[in-house]
């Protein structure tokens, strides 16, 4: 079986935000504008959280890129009254936009606050509509959305591998965030393949998970402790 997962090396992360921008471009995420962002409605499936350690001037900033953790026991899934969010056989926490009725219960029950809601219909003023990704739908108002692990890219590679009659190679799939990370902090791959890089990183001493004590069993591993 396949179980998609990600490893993020927080020791490498410089907090540049390239991943968040790439994610916006890849996934047709709407840009809500200053006023809406001020109300707490900014949408970034991938966001860089900043945490400060120590007291000025002896201060250290830590960056934590946070996205949907694609939990094996996702708290968001059972609470949806219409099965708009569910776990795929490949371990993705999927969103069915057309099924979502917008109760927002999933977002409330996500301990990572990784879900984003379309408060208004998205607007892509010209010429932005030209850069919309044709492989990804644009979500209407009243619908929940979140990181998909770039499911369209996964599908693309799987299709090619299938036509060439071979398994998907490790590292062949790159999510938009991992592709654009200048520090190469983000690794994507199959956690069920012990030889894959992401699985190997997950076995190192530096591997941790976010809010692990909630036993959500996230598919995203954070590496830290080098410096």
């Amino acid at each position: 079986m396949t179980r998609w997962g990600m490893a993020i090396d927080t020791d490498r992360c410089t907090g540049c935000g390239a991943c968040a921008v790439a994610c916006h471009a890849e996934n047709n995420i709407q840009t809500v504008g200053e006023e809406e962002a001020g109300k707490g409605r900014a949408m970034h499936w991938m966001r860089i959280e900043r945490y400060y350690e120590g007291v000025f001037p002896d201060i250290k900033v830590r960056f934590q890129p946070v996205l949907c953790q694609h939990c094996a026991h996702a708290p968001c899934e059972p609470v949806c009254p219409v099965y708009a969010t569910y776990r795929t056989p490949e371990g993705l926490n999927a969103m069915v936009y057309s099924r979502c009725i917008g109760t927002r219960y999933c977002a409330n029950n996500c301990p990572y606050t990784a879900r984003y809601f379309n408060w208004f219909s998205p607007e892509f003023p010209a010429p932005l509509e030209r850069q919309l990704n044709p492989d990804v739908s644009v979500r209407p108002a009243g619908v929940m959305e979140k990181c998909t692990f770039c499911v369209q890219r996964i599908q693309d590679v799987q299709d090619v591998a299938q036509t060439e009659d071979r398994p998907v190679r490790d590292g062949e799939i790159k999510t938009a965030c991992s592709q654009s990370c200048p520090a190469q902090a983000i690794t994507f791959g199959d956690l069920d393949d012990p030889a894959s890089l992401v699985a190997q990183l997950g076995r190192t001493e530096r591997a941790t998970h976010l809010l692990e004590d909630l036993s959500t069993e996230p598919s995203v591993t954070y590496l830290r402790g080098g410096r």
Binding site: R41, R50, T103, R104, N108, N109, P111, W119, A141
Partner: protein, 456 residues
């Protein structure tokens, strides 16, 4: 049922049904305007999308869910209180049951609106209905929201039945009176239909009493399940200060507490407005006041127990929510709630002088505000502090949400004023039955008190 002619007191009850009452008209007009506000605001939101409300990330739930819990809570006024009093055969219940049961039905209707108002895509709310389609899609019965759908529809069906059943003989009384006075009018036709052929035969009485008795017993567990399930919307989630086993009983107690509160206010207004102090007399207020006091104590105890365990447990995420309530940004609301929900009731209700109509109505108003604040603190207080501190947020309601809240109060008043013109707000036949029982028992009681006198 021919029955005796209406007594003088009954005239006061029947008057709003047959003649133009200026007070009722003005009340209906004013609340009708508020209903306009409700539907204008809601329409504005449907046209311009849910974003016109103040909710955001991380406070995904706001006024609408607060109002939902508030109104469903109020719906515990009637059915539960009247059912408990019926089952325990409390004689003084007779004038209270109808006006309490009407509160239940209307509060439920309004409470049931809010999940719809709250949806991001209200047009497809029917995805939550178990409708078999060729796509094989089904609602997710693991979701507490689906439990809500089931519980609330069951409760609504039950409480409408429970309200209607005891109204049949009263409709017959009015029908007979109207038949004598204006046999051809439209009103008479309405009451003829509403009385569904009630003749008052022993067989009909037997069936009716059996029906009411059954409903009274059935409705109690249903009512308890409803607010337990509403509490589980929160308790099943793993958010700080939501994920708590106390929530089920805590919410049920809170619901009945706010239910008694609204009943107190409504009874006070009915007594004043309709001049029916003969029925809603001081004894009724006194007894309900005692019940009110019991729930004030219970609610205070639950609130204390909930907060003490959180404070003592000292878990990081829970403490963030807790501290905001006790001494942070939510402290003014929290302490207001404590004052109006615990301190004021405990200062007034323990004393017989406090359990008069005005005293209980004032306490009731305060408790209504306090119970609304409680739900606000639960919904917004928790959501403002997600586990990952970086995402902490805040919430300011927009005019749309305020309009809908005010409008919902108006809708309640509007429905209630309308009800006053359709049925006597005090059950005529039940009061008559009570008088009958009292008259019959009076000599027997004397006999029981003085057994020696007969032997002598």
């Amino acid at each position: 049922m021919a029955g005796p002619a209406a007594s003088v007191h009954e005239e006061a009850l029947l008057r709003p049904l047959s003649s133009f009452r200026p007070k009722l008209f003005v009340g209906s007009l004013l609340t009708g305007l508020l209903v306009g506000v409700l539907f204008y605001s809601w329409g504005y939101q449907i046209v311009n999308d849910i974003g016109v409300a103040g909710i955001n990330r991380p406070v995904f739930w706001g006024f609408y869910i607060v109002n939902f819990v508030f109104w469903i809570g109020i719906s515990h006024a009637g059915t539960l209180i009247s059912a408990i009093l019926r089952v325990t055969q409390a004689e003084w219940r007779r004038p209270v049951t109808r006006c309490a049961e009407a509160i239940t039905t209307f509060a439920l209707l309004i409470g049931g609106l809010f999940p719809l108002i709250h949806l991001g895509r209200p047009g497809v709310f029917w995805y939550m209905m178990p409708i078999p389609t060729e796509r094989g899609l089904w609602p997710n019965f693991r979701s507490p929201l689906m439990w809500d759908v089931l519980a609330i529809t069951t409760y609504l069906t039950g409480s409408v039945l429970y309200l209607l059943l005891p109204m049949i003989p009263d409709f017959a009384i009015i029908r007979d009176k109207a038949m004598r006075e204006h046999p051809k009018s439209l009103r008479t036709l309405f009451f003829r239909v509403a009385a569904i052929g009630w003749r008052g035969t022993p067989q009909q009485w037997f069936s009716l009493e059996a029906g009411i008795r059954t409903m009274a017993v059935v409705i109690i567990p249903v009512a308890i399940s409803v607010h337990t399930i509403v509490s589980w919307d929160f308790a099943m989630a793993i958010q700080p200060m939501w994920h708590s086993t106390i929530f089920g009983p805590y919410f049920v107690v809170g619901a009945i507490y706010s239910g008694v509160a609204v009943l107190m206010v409504a009874m006070y207004l009915l007594r004043k407005g309709l001049g029916i102090g003969e029925y809603l007399n001081d004894k009724v207020f006194n007894n309900l006041g005692l019940m009110f006091l019991a729930f004030a104590l219970l609610w205070g105890y639950f609130t204390f127990a909930e907060h003490l365990t959180v404070w003592y447990g000292n878990e990081h995420a829970e403490r963030a929510v807790f501290d905001a309530r006790i001494s942070g940004e939510f402290a003014p609301l929290f302490w207001t709630m404590i004052v109006v929900n615990v301190l004021i009731p405990l200062a007034i209700l323990p004393f017989p002088k406090g359990r008069k109509p005005l005293g209980t109505a004032i306490v009731g108003l305060g408790v209504l505000v306090g119970m609304w604040i409680e739900r606000y603190l639960i919904v917004v207080g928790t959501l403002s502090f997600p586990r990952l501190d970086f995402n902490a947020g805040s919430y300011t309601p927009s005019w749309v949400e305020i309009g809908i809240l005010v409008g919902s109060v108006g809708l309640f008043g509007f429905l209630y004023f309308g009800f006053l013109q359709l049925a006597p707000i005090v059950s005529l036949w039940e009061v008559r039955e009570g008088e009958h029982i009292k008259n019959r028992q009076a000599p027997a009681q004397q006999h029981a008190l003085h057994p020696a006198s007969e032997e002598a």
